[in-house]
């Protein structure tokens, strides 16, 4: 079943769909922006990109879908753990998606998501307050 056809069935009828405040989101895995759209859908497309935090809380996992594995959900994803550091993580993502042209349209979204995850994994910086102490 083509992505377009399945999308027409799922677009307004899915357990992952979240509607509220005039906005529409989709909670499925491998949706980089949690956006309910055909392009970003993690269910319907044959090639999907997902960026998830690594289980131990450090680093990021890049998930891509294998070719011709639509009927076998258990074996259809390749997960690559990127733990080296933000610069190298982003470069890896950029090159994987850019040079191989695997979902090139999602390159920036994947990088942004990785950035957001990495930032959340950093310890929260204590801000210096420049307020004068009241006497």
């Amino acid at each position: 079943m083509s992505a377009d056809l399945t999308w027409m069935i799922i677009r307004n009828n899915s357990c992952f769909l979240v509607k509220g405040n005039g906005r529409c989101y989709s909670k499925e895995p491998n949706n980089l922006k949690a956006r309910n759209s055909l392009r970003y859908s993690g269910l319907v497309q044959k090639k999907t990109v997902g960026v998830e935090p690594a289980k131990d809380g450090k680093g990021v996992v890049l998930v891509t879908r294998k070719n011709k594995t639509e009927a076998t959900p258990g074996k259809s994803y390749t997960k690559v753990e990127l733990k080296k550091g933000s610069r190298q993580t982003l470069q890896t993502i950029s090159k994987t998606l850019g040079k191989t042209k695997y979902r090139r349209d999602l390159r920036m979204s994947a990088m942004r998501r990785a950035c957001a995850i990495l930032k959340s994994q950093k310890p929260v910086a204590v801000k210096k307050s420049f307020r004068k102490k009241k006497e």
Partner: protein
């Protein structure tokens, strides 16, 4: 339409050597609208009648007091000695009166649905159960499943113990769906709680078998599981809530029977008289491939990559360049006009100078002489160059 081979899995969740060609039903068009409609109508067939009591509101001998008593003419309860006496009765607007249009038990509770519509809905529901994206969007946890559609050995039909059933589901990686059912066990919101519908939970996998040799008893106690015989498939079980995409586990004999039950487009169904699968409206639904295909690209106009930006309209009456672009002769006219004006001015000044007894001013040199002056050094340069070249050659 492609009909790949589907592997059959054994009790340990391993692929066996046997394959079954995907039944054609799984390639039937998926029509959620038809499924929704048929499901809605079918659901009505399980209803129990409700009605108010036949005598409700009429168990009084009330009569209207008529006019002239400074009260509304509604029938009023007879007698005295109680609050009830003199109160309005019978009307739907009266307290303790009969309702408007009292509900009757002979309301038509059941719905007739066209056979073809029912079958179309069934085909759509079965087809949708074979697409992982749709099953996932229905909410089933099938991320770890080995294959969809999931077909299991016929030995499962002989199961007698729930323990074996549970092991099977775990081996098949379908247990996550059951865990989902466990986690959604809760009390119903609303009055259903006191009407024998206290607890609710999500639906789990649907197991479809060919022959019941104990499988029903083995699986029925596992929460969320529904069991169906392939010959008696039920749309309400296959598309709960009217939404397609229930997670189905088929036994091998059940899976093989589907072609004879629903037909393939090449052969009519053997079980249903003169029935064949519905035809899809589009054979190729991949929009991106269609748009990139040679047939369509050849028929399109060439792409216009250049974007035209909005050009600010300039007033030709004020802007000389715009005027000249629109009317090239305007330049000539302007020049002529300015030269005429100059001559007139000059003539006027000369006349005035003569009157004053002065010499008339000499005519100004034309500025066009600049051009030959520019050309002269240019002409000199090529003249120099060949001389240089000749010198180099020597």
């Amino acid at each position: 339409m492609s009909r790949p081979l589907v592997s059959v899995y054994n009790e340990k969740g391993e692929r066996t050597d046997s394959n079954v060609k995907l039944p054609a039903v799984f390639r039937a068009p998926i029509r959620p609208d038809i499924v929704s409609f048929v499901h809605f109508q079918m659901k009505k067939n399980g209803r129990q009648p409700y009605a108010v009591s036949k005598v409700a509101g009429h168990q009084t001998s009330a009569e209207s007091w008529g006019t002239g008593r400074a009260v509304a003419r509604i029938p009023r309860v007879r007698g005295g000695g109680t609050h009830r006496s003199g109160q309005g009765a019978f009307g739907n607007m009266c307290r303790g009166g009969r309702m408007f249009a009292p509900t009757k038990t002979w309301r038509k509770w059941h719905k007739r649905i066209n056979i073809n519509q029912k079958r179309y809905a069934m085909c759509s529901a079965i087809a949708a159960s074979g697409i992982p994206a749709i099953v996932m969007s229905k909410g089933h946890k099938i991320e770890e499943l080995n294959e969809i559609p999931l077909v299991v050995n016929d030995s499962v039909q002989e199961y007698k113990k729930t323990k074996n059933a549970v092991t099977l589901l775990k081996r098949l990686r379908a247990w996550k769906d059951i865990l989902k059912v466990y986690s959604t066990k809760r009390f119903r919101a609303g009055k259903g709680k006191m009407r024998n519908r206290r607890r609710i939970q999500k639906r789990g996998p649907l197991i479809i078998y060919g022959q019941d040799n104990g499988i029903t008893k083995a699986f029925r106690n596992i929460p969320g599981i529904t069991l169906l015989n392939v010959s008696q498939l039920n749309l309400i079980k296959l598309a709960p809530g009217g939404h397609v995409g229930r997670f189905c586990i088929w036994t091998e004999s059940a899976f093989k029977k589907l072609d004879s039950l629903y037909g393939t487009w090449k052969a009519t169904s053997q079980a249903k008289k003169d029935y064949n699968l519905p035809c899809p409206k589009m054979t190729n639904t991949d929009l991106s491939r269609l748009l990139k295909s040679d047939e369509i690209q050849a028929a399109l106009k060439p792409v216009i990559r250049q974007t035209k930006h909005r050009v600010l309209k300039k007033n030709p009456l004020k802007n000389r360049r715009t005027m000249d672009r629109l009317n090239p002769y305007a330049k000539v006219v302007r020049k002529a006009a300015s030269s005429i004006q100059k001559n007139r001015r000059k003539a006027k000044d000369d006349a005035l100078a003569i009157k004053r007894g002065l010499k008339p001013a000499p005519a100004k040199k034309a500025p066009a002489k600049k051009a030959p002056a520019k050309k002269a050094p240019a002409k000199k340069a090529p003249a120099k160059a060949p001389a240089k070249k000749v010198a180099a050659k020597k």
